[in-house]
Symmetry: C2
Subunit: 536 residues, 2 copies
Amino acid sequence: MSDLINHRIRRSWTEEGGAAAGLPDRAVRWLGQRIGVLGADRDRKPAAPAPVAESALTVPVRTEFEDLLGADQVLLDPAERLGRTGGLSYLDLLRARAGAAAPVPDAVLLPATPEQVQAVLELCVKHDIGVVPFGGGTSVVGGVAALRGDKSAVIVLDLVRLDELVSVDPVSRIAVLQAGVRGPEAERLLAAHGYTLGHVPQSFERATIGGFAATRSAGQASSGYGRFEDMVTGVRLATPKGEWRLGVAPASAAGPDLRQLAVGSEGALGVITEVALRVRPLPEERQYEGWIVDGWEAGAAAVRKLAQDHALADVTRLSDVDETDVSFSLNASLKTAALRGYLSLRGIRNPCLLIVGWEGDVARRRRRTSAMLRRSGAVRIGKVLGESWRHGRFSGPRQRDALLDLGVCVETLETAAYWSNLDELHDAVRAALVASLGRAIVMCHVSHAYETGASLYFTVLTARDDRDPVAQWQRAKAAASEAITGLGTISHHHAVGVDHAPYLQAEIGKLGVEVLRAAKSAVDPTGILNPGKLIG
Amino acid sequence: MSDLINHRIRRSWTEEGGAAAGLPDRAVRWLGQRIGVLGADRDRKPAAPAPVAESALTVPVRTEFEDLLGADQVLLDPAERLGRTGGLSYLDLLRARAGAAAPVPDAVLLPATPEQVQAVLELCVKHDIGVVPFGGGTSVVGGVAALRGDKSAVIVLDLVRLDELVSVDPVSRIAVLQAGVRGPEAERLLAAHGYTLGHVPQSFERATIGGFAATRSAGQASSGYGRFEDMVTGVRLATPKGEWRLGVAPASAAGPDLRQLAVGSEGALGVITEVALRVRPLPEERQYEGWIVDGWEAGAAAVRKLAQDHALADVTRLSDVDETDVSFSLNASLKTAALRGYLSLRGIRNPCLLIVGWEGDVARRRRRTSAMLRRSGAVRIGKVLGESWRHGRFSGPRQRDALLDLGVCVETLETAAYWSNLDELHDAVRAALVASLGRAIVMCHVSHAYETGASLYFTVLTARDDRDPVAQWQRAKAAASEAITGLGTISHHHAVGVDHAPYLQAEIGKLGVEVLRAAKSAVDPTGILNPGKLIG
């Protein structure tokens, strides 16, 4: 279940022309038992959107943009503007469903080249217009909210037309991709040359190369392929002070690594137009399988052992007891009762599911990982759960609307910490969410392990409080964020956006925020870039 | 030979009480044949140092420092101040030998704690005094030159008393070390807990944890253990705007990774006082061995294959034809003629030496690497060269003075590039050096390989032009730096300091320099931190 709802990558599936997937009756019954959801909302239609205000762009300014990009690449139509209003967090969705007002951009601009992006920024400086770079629009932290700040207007810079594979260097194994290329298209373009990025976050189907870089994305196979920033060898940015290119060598001692300042800059320090990325050969074989560990702490210790002995599988995903219970309960392809019986016979009282997956060079690596897992007391349960996880791993969006229709409050949040803090962090966040929400399903998994620590990814389901659903979630999120502060990072791969900005200072210090502000002033002295994000 | 002179880690070996190692007669003869050095300088004594100016610190200011640190921790003695004047580049050494004037600090301060470092900075802001953080003093790029800039005085902050292992977290495998801990002491402190950093640059014996972090150091085993920045999980800095701590999780999407701004900041953005570092278990076994590849391009291709297939040994060091020839000619433990005959029989016409070394888990990893090397056409020549390299790898400093005594101009420089640029970069730098210096030995090796590229480390020996030895080297260095620009980075692990500052903008852009300046203004508004370094 958690895989089905970890992320949402479309405002609604039907918006994109796909079929809205219903939830199986089994799942609805189960949810009713667990959190008391009755499906009262099932037939409620989303409210009509709030009226969209007139664009604040004056005709002369609009004409300048049209002269630059072509008249058909400057969209003022309310539906187009509304379609790039904010991201896809639970609160974004609630607002969209309620037809509540949200900041709508004054125009959507569709540049086709890095040079056009640069020219747009220069016009925006001239006319004091805020710029929201927009890729897949999948932010769950308010990263693409069309906030105007103190600017005269705000435009969304939709990078969808920056869709090219610019170059492939097969010797260095580096590919340069434009910022607007979406996950599947990036893989298709690279596969034609025999390569893959291996970057598969749950937003994969819609999110873009530029967005991955801007948010320090981490995918489901990041234990093997690395976080997105590990793949970045170079970045090309447009800024109000001119173009900025970084990355002449794999590593350097020529001062601080400014690539790592550009990566994670969330559109506030420049618009990423191209990214040079380390690619790897397409794997000839893949294998995913499920293992069971007895209890969260034993599971975390087993994963830690793999990470510290350099024996991690490319996908290494450890679910806690609650998430495992949900997986078992809702997985239609699983003979759950038989499995529970088998595990009980093996003496496993608190099963935690561990999905491990190898992409390429499977046999050699699998042998080593498997031997270590067995020594850790883990029990292999075969490929069914591994493969069913793999096939379902992007299906969350298809089910999300159905959950919302049922009246479920459903959201995810994530963090990372050093190993010695991990159990305490897991328990603290869980306790904070349960204390705030009452009867709730709170489940968690590790999705990326490092030598020194790991990520934690929480999924929360509870009955929506329709008196004030926004406040219900804001309280829970604040409680979880407070629990995280001091033990881990406020975000392992969702970024800061608007939602996490209040917690940034506790993490990087007052000086850290001041350094980011100073860097922003250097490249964006009038503050047109993504107003209100990252550093508030 | 190149191992013997890659770096110098003491102004002169005898300064530290060690024995100055002479060069074997065989080496002297060989050098004479190759570069025409006659040993005319052999008996020349270094000139007496230039007189040291009075300290510009006024008595009241000095008293404030003494009240803070204790009178014996504020050194005004000319010898103490002279002993912390600049680093250990060839030009530094020439100057010291000639007794030429160089900027001497007005005092040497010896704080014992991060809090004292912080308090010193506050006094320096108050009295407008420049601060040069000083660890091992091994910079070869002017990174610790006691430049005053526009300040009223300049002090050296010698961090030697920050010598503690602060904590060890065996679960997360993180150790916190203070900035003044030198390489061998760090290993000794960690070994008591069963851990190692595995960071062994040639400056290891003298350089410090703070210096490693400030310069993005890379060691001889960095293909296995990673560059120093790969080990850093957290940093504590003192800055004029207060303390700054970074690093709450192994990785984060909470904005840009500011750790990567602190690492490589060369004392210009703060004084690093403590570093949290990922440690690894002490290896139970080590093995070093030599292989021979036929020609530089085949060797680079073999190393690239290892890097891209994740089969690198921990130490992976490929010498070019010239460096290999020097190694063969001067290695006393080698039956050189027999080896050359054997290689000729194997059809190897342009032998390039590849040293590979494993630390821990040797058998399993060695099997895989060896099989791949054999498939690349490499020939194993056993442990002699590997072990002799390992035993000699810190001996350079012991031989350097003897080379200078012989009248040799000896210096190193290094860069890194993507694989597709590597051969061109190698040839271009070599050609630039030879064109500038005439009859010279120019040799090169790869010391760190990445999936996307590798480092290149050049060692140059030529007869010193005693009419103007400074200009002789400056011309050659400028020619090499021009050759590097556009193809690779101006430094893979020596940092920027003063010497590389003119080339930084070409690498990170005008905006990059402006961002660094802005960051500096945020933490050091009056510019007291390491004046003239990094951003000039």
